[in-house]
């Protein structure tokens, strides 16, 4: 009887030990989300940080300051709601603080609701927002036309690849390196990612071998970014517009990309330069080699 009791006791002790170790090893994902990030608008002059009324086609600046909570900020999102909600920007990062400025062009919608969101690794988020109303006295601006610009591909030794569109001047690599801030558009032939005839800008993702050397893009300190969006406009639509209304209506920041790729004659792209000027170009002709050329006609907002 005593022996049987002893055995039961030993068995219970061992079972308890098993359960104790189970409790130590039983581990699940930590569901405690902790302290999340914070976000606020910059209140400096020149920045919009509350509801406002702005002329159509005009640019305005927004400044954001965000701080991490327990863990770094990993996602920054800008959404705009007018007729529908679209994502203006959605980018990944891993930072403790965020200090970012955005320049936005007022579109045609009567009211845009802008929401700025930061998220962290734990899924915590914070947001701020404001409304921008279209000024009822808005009028569309004038445009300038550049009938022909010829740009050479990277190995063209007689025609440069880099365009100072404000002054309508074309430069080769070494010349462009000396005036980086003036260069907003460039042209190259992309055989590496097979994008062929490509109009882009210094801040686009261009392989270092395209423009190598001391003056190569990887060594630039100022890299302007122009964004492009292909349109379905007809040639006659392109020829006939006379103010910037179609530019404002057609350009979409969320859909625009840093490259206009695989260009062929007849392609029409709307673009926004680094200096926030909207424009449109039509490809007149293109020679598809790394020493070839592209000829475009441009209609854009004046500087």
């Amino acid at each position: 009887m005593h022996n049987k009791k002893n055995k039961i006791l030993i068995f219970c002790k061992l079972l308890f030990t098993v359960l104790f170790i189970v409790s130590i090893f039983s581990c699940r994902k930590n569901n405690d989300d902790g302290i999340g990030p914070t976000i606020a608008f910059k209140l400096d002059s020149g920045f919009v940080y509350k509801d406002d009324t702005i002329l159509i086609g005009k640019t305005y600046n927004v400044g954001i300051i965000a701080q991490k909570g327990d863990v770094n900020i990993t996602n920054f999102i800008i959404k705009v709601s007018n007729n529908s909600t679209t994502t203006y920007l959605d980018t990944g990062m891993n930072v403790s603080t965020l200090d970012i400025n955005k320049t936005i062009i007022k579109g045609l919608a009567a009211k845009d609701t802008w929401t700025f969101i930061v998220r962290d690794k734990n899924g915590n988020s914070a947001s701020v927002s404001f409304n921008i109303f279209a000024d009822s006295s808005s009028v569309f601006g004038s445009i300038v036309t550049i009938p022909s610009i010829i740009l050479g591909a990277q190995n063209n030794t007689s025609i440069g690849s880099f365009l100072d569109i404000k002054n309508k001047l074309v430069y080769n690599l070494d010349q462009a390196y000396a005036i980086q801030d003036s260069i907003e558009i460039l042209y190259f032939y992309d055989a590496i990612q097979t994008d062929a005839n490509t109009i882009a800008s210094p801040n686009a993702n261009i392989d270092a071998s395209v423009f190598p050397g001391t003056s190569g893009l990887t060594n630039w300190t100022v890299k302007n970014e122009t964004r492009y969006l292909q349109t379905s406009l007809s040639a006659s639509d392109f020829e006939s517009f006379y103010n910037d209304s179609i530019l404002i209506a057609t350009y979409n920041e969320t859909l625009a990309k840093r490259k206009a790729k695989n260009l062929v004659a007849g392609d029409i792209y709307v673009f926004r330069t680094a200096k926030n000027k909207l424009g449109m170009f039509k490809v007149l002709n293109v020679t598809g080699t790394d020493a070839g050329t592209v000829e475009i006609k441009v209609k854009m907002q004046p500087y």
Binding site: N75, I77, N94
Partner: protein, 766 residues
């Protein structure tokens, strides 16, 4: 007168009795291991002439008392050791005969359970089987448990990153994926849900009693995944009232750790409790996977942090019945060699728990084995990357998987020379995996259930006594796929391109019939020939059936309609023992049907703003033909020196690749990836009281890294060595060196192996 006769009768009786008493013999002695001098329990000492036997106790002692004087053949047998015998002549008195047993690399009288799910001697099996003993595990230079499997010919171990790889690739018989090999631990499937890679790092080699291997399809007993073969790792069993073993080690890349094994047995007269507790930890700083010439600033050393523990207790009701409960747990984190912002970089973190209750017993004439188990696995894989466009992505993949089931079988002697085994297995598994993006709002989740049910029966007949044996078996399996789903919450540009490809994942079930038949002819104790045919199958993985997403080859769609793969095999083998040489050649031929490959759908899609990928899907599209030779030879020169050689040739090719319904390159006549044509594992082992030494040679011929056979991975040869010494009876020191000549062979992605790797260890037992 009458009284006088009675008196004389009693006097005569007394004289005879005294005379008989003085003619009685007692024999005793001790059984020990010839190299370690360890006392051996459980050895059978038999005297055939008297039809009696004794078993050595936990001190290695045996005894025969009150046996008549005479001449006898004293035979000693113990599993894992070579039989030995001694012819003795006795007259009245006490005799002492001690035996030192030599461990056998390949012991035909060894008993194996895995081959038939009953105890059977290797020499009675019409199949290619092998046992890796505890002695071999201690003698061979290896760091992880799977590396010992190379001692069996036909098993290919790929551990390109050494211990810094969360799974070892263990493949057999010319097949090239982990899912084709069923790994058991103490008879229960080790991997969760749908088979596949197991974290071999979790198995402490110090806790292994033996490893049993049976090659070729064995779905007739084990169901899904037993296509290339079955490996059963059997852990140690307490035999002494108390035993403790402590081991610490230190090695290359600041690798260090230790293990503690405690056990106790209160079994008396076959009745009582026993218990075992085992713990094992390992840490390492790791190394950088990329060669200096291409390493970037974000390439950092892999690292390792492992904790493993095991508890077991049981009660033995009598010699034939016992009940056990077991709990295992493991917590391991492995760096993946990349770090961008996060402190821990890219890592893989795995938490595993296992509960089991098992009964092993004899009820009437039925030998019964039953086990109920539950496994739980939680994985957290963290990954940071920067795309070519400069975009930063950071996500964690959380995967919850679990299995529960009952495996049971019973065997009974149907007739004098016939044993019937039958059983039922169930394994109910489910998994749920979520990719949680931190750099966008997306959460991509897939989940599904796979339930397996199997009924099997086996007939083991000795057709001609000691000459001709046959085993036939059949198993019927039902696999049920259900409750599957694939969802994307809060999709952004990161995953929104997948939305048009989401589809309902309907419930499906399959069944499979897996037969096996084998015939063994024993010419004599030194020569036997066997032949067998068998069939195996493997159901699709939950990932292939439920998950849509990026893979190396393109953008993969889930395919809930995947059918199982099948493999039919025929093999003929021989076992030859000639003096000190044992040789086993095997020829095999297999045809695989409905093998799965990625095929194009004709679509392509931008998975990022700049990356266009083909849309692909896994389909049952091909036949595979595999044939080969396995050759194993073991030579024991004396109790100190032995040598072995394993060689395998595997010709594994795709046949009948059906491109009529799919957009795909025709892979007909292409070789299976990762299967070397030639594989060698050989070595020499020296054991003595003073020092033990072993040196191993490994060779694998070149392999193809892609299905189209355009990228080749070079062949390589490696040398490993181990030296160990026991001193002061309880201490054991060893030094293991893997890849002595620091041979650098890059894998298909140009990543480095760990190179020359040292581990020095010191152990103490009492």
């Amino acid at each position: 007168m009458k009284i006088k006769i009675i008196k004389y009768f009693f006097l005569f009786f007394l004289i005879v009795s005294v005379f008989e008493a003085y003619s009685q013999v007692s024999i005793n002695g001790k059984i020990t291991d010839a190299s370690s001098n360890e006392e051996l329990e459980g050895a059978t000492i038999s005297i055939k002439e008297l039809n009696i036997s004794a078993i050595s106790n936990n001190s290695g002692n045996y005894e025969f008392s009150s046996i008549p004087a005479g001449s006898y053949n004293l035979k000693v047998k113990l599993m894992g050791y070579k039989d030995t015998s001694l012819y003795i002549t006795t007259s009245a008195g006490a005799y002492n005969f001690n035996f030192k047993l030599i461990s056998g690399m390949y012991e035909m009288n060894s008993v194996i359970v895995t081959a038939t799910r009953t105890e059977k001697k290797i020499k009675d099996l019409p199949a290619s089987v092998g046992i890796i003993t505890r002695d071999e595990i201690q003698e061979i230079p290896a760091v992880t448990a799977d590396e010992y499997l190379s001692l069996i010919s036909g098993i290919n171990i790929t551990r390109h990153f050494g211990i810094f790889y969360k799974t070892g690739d263990v493949t057999m018989r010319g097949l090239n994926r982990n899912v084709y090999t069923l790994l058991l631990i103490d008879g229960i499937p080790a991997s969760i849900v749908d088979g596949g890679a197991t974290n071999w790092n979790r198995i402490n080699p110090e806790n292994i009693r033996k490893i049993e291997v049976i090659k070729g399809p064995n779905s007739s007993l084990y169901g899904s995944n037993a296509m290339g073969g079955v490996i059963n790792v059997i852990t140690r069993h307490p035999s002494k009232p108390f035993k403790a073993e402590v081991n610490t080690f230190y090695g290359t890349y600041n690798t260090y750790g230790g293990s503690l094994n405690l056990s106790g047995s209160k079994i008396k007269n076959d009745k009582g409790f026993y218990w075992l507790a085992d713990g094992f930890i390992r840490r390492s700083d790791g190394y950088v996977l990329y060669p200096d010439s291409i390493a970037e600033s974000t390439d950092v050393a892999t690292y390792l942090k492992e904790n493993n523990g095991s508890l077991r207790t049981g009660y033995s009701f009598n010699k034939n019945n016992n009940l056990e409960i077991e709990y295992d747990a493991s917590d391991a984190t492995m760096g993946q060699g990349k770090k961008i912002f996060e402190e821990l970089g890219n890592y893989y973190h795995d938490i595993y728990q296992f509960w089991q209750a098992r009964y092993n017993g004899l009820i009437g004439k039925f030998r019964i084995y039953a086990s109920a188990f539950y496994k739980y696995d939680f994985d957290d894989a963290q990954k940071e990357s920067i795309k070519q466009s400069g975009a930063y992505t950071f996500l964690n993949t959380y995967t919850d998987s679990g299995d529960k089931g009952i495996w049971c079988n019973a065997s009974f002697p149907f007739k004098k020379n016939q044993t019937i085994t039958f059983g039922f297995d169930s394994k109910l598994g489910k998994t749920k995996s979520s990719d949680v993006y931190h750099t966008s709002t997306d959460t991509v989740t897939y989940k599904g259930n796979l339930d397996y049910y199997g009924l099997f029966a086996q007939d083991d007949i000795e057709i001609i006594k000691n000459r001709l044996k046959s085993i036939i078996g059949l198993r019927y399996d039902i696999v049920n796929f259900f409750d599957a789903d694939f969802t994307i919450d809060a999709p952004s540009f990161t995953t929104s391109f997948m939305l048009p490809y989401l589809q309902p994942l309907t419930e499906k079930n399959w069944n499979a019939l897996s037969p096996k038949a084998g015939l063994l002819y024993k010419y004599n104790d030194s020569l036997s020939v066997y032949f067998n045919v068998s069939r195996g199958f493997r159901s699709g993985t939950l990932s292939d059936m439920c998950k849509t997403g990026d893979v190396n080859k393109g953008f993969k769609l889930a395919n809930p309609y995947l059918k199982p793969e099948y493999l039919s095999n025929a093999e003929i083998g021989m076992v030859i023992q000639y003096h000190k040489l044992e040789v086993e050649p095997v020829l095999f031929y297999s045809i695989g049907k409905d093998f799965q490959y990625f095929v194009g759908t004709g679509d392509s899609i931008y998975t990022t703003k700049t990356k266009k990928q083909p849309v692909i899907k896994r389909e049952n599209i091909s036949k595979v033909e595999i044939y080969g030779i396995e050759f194993a030879a073991n030579y024991t020169l004396n109790k100190h020196l032995s040598a072995f050689l394993n060689y395998s040739y595997n010709h594994s090719q795709i046949k009948d690749f059906d491109t009529t319904l799919f957009v795909s390159k025709d892979l007909t006549n292409k070789f299976l990836i990762d299967v070397p044509l030639h594989h060698i594992f050989s070595g020499i082992i020296y054991k003595s009281k003073f020092i033990n030494f072993s040196i191993i040679y490994k060779y694998a011929s070149s392999t193809w890294a892609d299905d189209e056979n355009t990228i080749k991975v070079d062949d390589y040869a490696l040398f490993d060595a181990k030296v160990s010494k026991k001193f002061f009876k309880s201490f054991n020191a060893s030094l293991t060196c893997e890849n002595i000549f620091n041979t650098i062979h890059l894998d298909s992605k140009g990543l480095l192996p760990p190179g020359r790797f040292f581990i020095a260890s010191l152990g103490y037992s009492f």
